[in-house]
């Protein structure tokens, strides 16, 4: 039970273990909050002078080159009107979009390397959302109060360093209103979420599933996500296994990615909590092709179900080999990392995949199936590359809605208060997107109760209707 608590209520346990070893007095010495704040204030002041210093350096060039055209650049800023009161009261101020300038939304998704299909899929979802927000797909983005909305795509590299670099780049652009990302939890936790949050830039992820990102102890106030927490999916799959399939023993495999390991562990914890037995928890390497060794090892304990929340490359191979090695009696279950035609084709019938309940994309199932998917295929030349395009679409729409809500026009310049935007997103409630009806909870989970389903692959395709579906809520 302790283990389950660790998973479901991270903060209680974590705070204790974080703080207990250091006496309060010592902690004061280590991190004197006041002094730190004072220092930061000083630094901010210094940074204000930076413009002046730099100005001196480039003055010659500017003076020589521009003389005449100087004036029109300057006059656009704030002729009449001036910033509204919300900007002064907002702790992080406003994004000021001068007339004729676009509203910039950043994305921080993995678009290179082996995981690029995950990020590109989300990026496509965002691009389509920006296009469709005015009700038609016409390859022209929506405008908000006369300003174009443009996407500034960045790569999170699916790694901490990639997330840091990308977040720094986006944070440096004071025109960026909000950022949709990251793709991978490791790119966000303690890196991108902190860098952007420190500047008052909201980060909303379509595919981060790590519980730590929205755990009270580690969550950044400017962090949100439309993807469901691993905890939900792990618990849902465990229920599917224990209650629906009625198996009492299960084995897990992860591929060394944080996503897979997190899910495998979440599943194992929930399954044991339900009363099941985990016979073995194994791992493979990304890039492996021959899994006879690991399958032999799993087979030795003869589990009734094998859960492998890994990705397509290894997943397709693993499932084929598992069928021959383990036989038909073992239930094979994967997760949304495997949602892809290539996997369905390779896996064949009788394999189960968990994930968001697409069939319960209730309100907008029509939108998804009849408008979104055909357009996706037309525009990008393939079936969806991964499972999170819809979450990205929803994230983009939530951001757009929040911008519309808080943006104030004053003399042609659009003012978007940063904290105000964050609060507007946090207040999202009952928004009907593709992935379901979204309401953000206090910790930034916009799917605090998600309908997680398990689909069977039938006839080389994922069946439209799930064999098992359950609404799981956090807390």
């Amino acid at each position: 039970m302790v283990r389950l608590e660790t998973w479901l209520g991270t903060h209680n346990v974590s705070r204790a273990s974080l703080h207990s070893p250091i006496p309060a007095r010592l902690r004061q010495q280590l991190w004197p909050q006041e002094r730190k704040l004072e220092r930061n204030r000083l630094l901010m002041k210094l940074k204000n002078y930076r413009g002046l210093m730099a100005l001196l350096v480039v003055l010659a060039l500017v003076a020589a080159a521009c003389g005449s055209s100087d004036s029109d650049g300057d006059s656009d800023g704030s002729t009449n009107g001036g910033p509204p009161a919300v900007c002064a009261s907002d702790a992080f101020g406003c994004v000021e979009v001068a007339s004729g300038d676009p509203i910039k939304i950043g994305s921080l998704l993995v678009t290179t390397g082996p995981n690029s299909s995950l990020g590109l899929d989300s990026q496509y979802g965002i691009e389509m959302a920006l296009d469709y927000a005015d009700g038609t797909f016409d390859d022209t983005n929506i405008t908000i109060q006369g300003h174009d909305v443009v996407l500034v795509p960045e790569d999170d590299g699916c790694s901490a360093e990639g997330g840091t670099a990308g977040a720094n780049k986006l944070a440096a652009d004071t025109q960026i209103v909000a950022v949709i990302g990251t793709s991978c939890s490791s790119a966000a936790l303690g890196t991108a979420d902190k860098i952007l949050g420190d500047k008052g830039v909201t980060l909303i992820s379509p595919s981060n599933t790590s519980p730590a990102l929205t755990a009270e102890a580690t969550r950044n106030p400017f962090y949100f996500r439309t993807a469901h927490n691993d905890t939900l999916q792990g618990a849902a799959v465990a229920e599917f296994a224990y209650n629906f399939e009625g198996v009492k023993t299960a084995a897990t495999i992860h591929d060394g990615s944080p996503y897979a390991e997190g899910l495998a562990n979440a599943f194992a914890a929930s399954f044991e909590a339900l009363g099941g037995t985990i016979t073995s928890q194994d791992a493979i390497q990304v890039g492996d092709t021959d899994f006879s060794g690991v399958l032999a090892s799993i087979q030795a304990e003869s589990p009734e179900l094998l859960y492998f929340p890994i990705f397509v490359g290894e997943g397709s191979l693993l499932v084929q080999q598992a069928k021959t090695t383990l036989g038909d009696s073992v239930v094979l279950t994967g997760s949304d990392g495997l949602w892809s035609d290539d996997f369905y084709a390779a896996a064949g019938d009788g394999v189960f995949l968990s994930g968001p309940d697409v069939s319960a994309f209730a309100g907008d199932a029509a939108l998804y199936k009849d408008i979104f998917l055909p357009r996706y295929a037309e525009k990008y030349g393939s079936e969806p590359l991964s499972a999170f395009h819809a979450h990205a679409w929803d994230a983009a729409n939530i951001v757009l809605g929040a911008i519309e809500k808080v943006a104030v026009d004053s003399g042609g310049t659009l003012y978007i208060p940063r904290s105000g935007l964050r609060d507007a997103i946090a207040a999202t409630s009952g928004y009907t997107g593709i992935t379901g009806t979204l309401s953000c909870n206090g910790n930034g989970d916009c799917q605090p109760s998600a309908t997680i389903a398990v689909f069977e692959i039938v006839g080389g395709k994922q069946a439209a209707d799930p064999v098992f579906s359950v609404v799981k809520s956090l807390e």
Partner: protein
């Protein structure tokens, strides 16, 4: 067909093929999204023009060995037109396949999208598009060919102006953000993510004129000498002081992001210098250098992490030695790295160069597998890695701020530079050089090959682990995803591009290979692609690198004796005859 004409046609075909290649790997479409001059011309078109022009120029170049000068105008025009026509014809054919035969080309060639076809036909019907493409090629080739008419100075001025204009435009989003951050009006220069027409003309003119001006006074060096108070004697000092000053104020001129990138460049300078000792000084090809980077990062993470949150959400007990001060952890880390370096080096040092490469690569993979493994998860956090690594404590400053961390990283990079220089010019460096050039003779002259190889490995490991230490402290996390084989290859590429064995080369290599791609991140998809091309091109065209090390350059141009035929074994066969 005259030989000149044949040569032009061949160049044209190759040029056309290059453009088709760029199209078929998706670069053109991706670059189409980037404006050079907003609403006028985008990067894809510029790239096509550059390719046509480059081949047009090459075709008109006089051949080697004083061949009579080509009719370069004609050569340029023919080459350009052939290239354009090649592209056009293929585009028409593909269009026919798609629309006429209804063959689903895109199911195989994913990059052949409607956008691409539209791009290649300039939004016209395919035939008209092909004609336009041919015309574009003809014009570009003719213009490039006519460059041969110009004097060297004019040519260089034009080229620099054009380069300034293209790079200025590519960097536009970044520069714009920087200028905005400094509240410098820039609307006349940049428009969204490209240049304005004024901006393009100004950039072209400014750089062209600057270059022309520096020609007039006899180069930048002479120009600097004109400044009162400088003389030939103290010029070095002046330059060093200026450079140091530049480095010192740089983060305050640029923004946080560029500072962060520069910090990353600094890390690669550290790593590059470390690997340079192993590869450049001692001549040992190490493809597993990432091992030491990982050792550094993980040691510091384990020693200094306040607690070890796993990304998965569970919280392990505070890390083994939690709360160790970074400055205490660093020497321990270096010690660990040296021990591991020697342990890795010892079994393999006697192996032939190629074997050494594969074995070190293996060691890199072994280290990565170990930190990733479930087996040692309790120590290293498995796939989730270690988080909450403490920032570098430094007089109470916030060292997570890229602008502050910059100084720390560069201070250590400077230290590594100093160590490299001192070692290189010492008895130790001489022994390495001797060993690298001829191991047998070096041993015959009294150099203990084993000792000096181990020394190189240990020194390289120490410097590399320092890079890792800063990496972990910078990011606040250490996880296995950061320590893949690709890092080893990146660092090697930095060393190679700058010039193997060359210390300033490492700095330049890092700036070019780490800095530039970070600044052009939106092309990230093609980063490794272009990287591969650079590695090949450098090795073929300039194996000694951008800033060659004198001695190393000489070695790289000496023909290699076939390995199985080293003189010693040739002598050994004497006894067998």
């Amino acid at each position: 067909m005259t030989p000149e004409l044949r040569r032009s046609v061949r160049q044209g075909l190759i040029g056309g093929a290059v453009v088709l290649y760029l199209a078929s790997v998706g670069m053109l479409v991706a670059f189409d999204a980037r404006a050079i001059i907003t609403n006028v011309v985008n990067f894809a078109t510029v790239l096509i023009v550059i390719t046509f022009a480059a081949f047009g120029y090459l075709a008109g170049r006089p051949g080697k060995g004083g061949e009579p000068a080509q009719p370069f105008l004609l050569a340029g025009a023919v080459t350009g037109a052939v290239a354009g026509a090649t592209v056009g014809v293929v585009a028409v054919l593909v269009d026919f396949l798609i629309t006429g035969l209804e063959w689903d080309v895109r199911s195989m060639w994913t990059s052949v999208s409607p956008t691409l076809m539209e791009l290649l036909s300039f939004g016209q019907s395919p035939i008209v598009g092909a004609l336009l493409m041919t015309l574009l090629g003809f014009t570009a080739g003719l213009a490039a060919g006519s460059l041969h008419l110009a004097t060297t100075i004019t040519r260089k001025v034009i080229l620099l102006g054009l380069m300034a204009f293209v790079f200025g435009a590519l960097g536009a989003p970044l520069f714009k953000v920087m200028l905005d951050g400094m509240h410098i009006p820039n609307r006349w220069l940049f428009d969204r993510d490209g240049l304005t027409i004024t901006g393009a003309i100004v950039l072209f003119a400014a750089f062209g004129l600057a270059r022309l001006g520096s020609f007039r006074v006899g180069g930048p060096r002479q120009a600097l000498l004109k400044v009162p108070g400088t003389s030939e004697k103290n010029l070095r000092w002046v330059i060093s002081v200026l450079a140091l000053l530049g480095i010192a104020v740089l983060p305050w001129i640029v923004n946080d992001f560029v500072s962060d990138v520069l910090g990353f460049v600094g890390l690669y300078i550290l790593l590059g210098l470390g690997l340079n000792i192993v590869v450049g000084f001692a001549g040992l090809l190490d493809l597993g250098y990432v091992a030491f980077y990982a050792v550094g990062a993980y040691s510091v993470a384990i020693l200094t992490a306040r607690s070890s949150y796993l990304v998965g959400g569970s919280v392990t007990a505070p890390a083994v030695a939690g709360y160790t001060n970074f400055w205490v952890a660093v020497p321990i880390t270096i010690l660990i790295a040296v021990v591991i370096g020697v342990a890795i080096g010892a079994p393999v040092l006697r192996l032939r160069g190629d074997y050494l490469a594969i074995v070190t690569l293996g060691f890199g993979e072994i280290i990565r597998t170990l930190v990733l493994s479930d087996w040692l998860k309790a120590k290293f956090g498995g796939p989730q890695g270690l988080t909450e690594v403490a920032a570098v404590p430094f007089f109470g400053l916030n060292t997570r701020d890229p602008q502050i961390l910059y100084y720390l990283i560069y201070a250590f990079a400077g230290l590594a530079l100093f160590i490299s220089y001192r070692l290189k010019t010492s008895r130790v460096g001489r022994a390495w050089a001797a060993m690298r050039e001829d191991e047998d003779i070096a041993e015959g002259m009294g150099v203990s090959v084993i000792k000096y190889k181990l020394l190189a490995f240990a020194t390289g490991a120490a410097v590399g682990s320092l890079g890792g230490a800063f990496f972990a402290a910078k990011l606040s996390v250490a996880n296995p995803g950061s320590f893949t084989l690709l890092v080893s290859i990146n660092v090697l590429a930095v060393v190679v591009l700058g010039g193997i064995g060359s210390i300033p080369g490492v700095v330049v290599g890092s700036l070019v290979l780490v800095g530039l791609p970070e600044l052009l991140r939106e092309f990230g998809e093609f980063r490794l692609h272009i990287y591969g091309a650079i590695l090949i091109a450098i090795m073929i065209l300039k194996p000694e690198g951008l800033i060659p090390d004198k001695r190393r350059a000489l070695e790289l141009h000496q023909p290699d004796h076939q390995p199985e035929k080293s003189v010693l074994s040739a002598e050994a066969t004497e006894g067998i005859q």
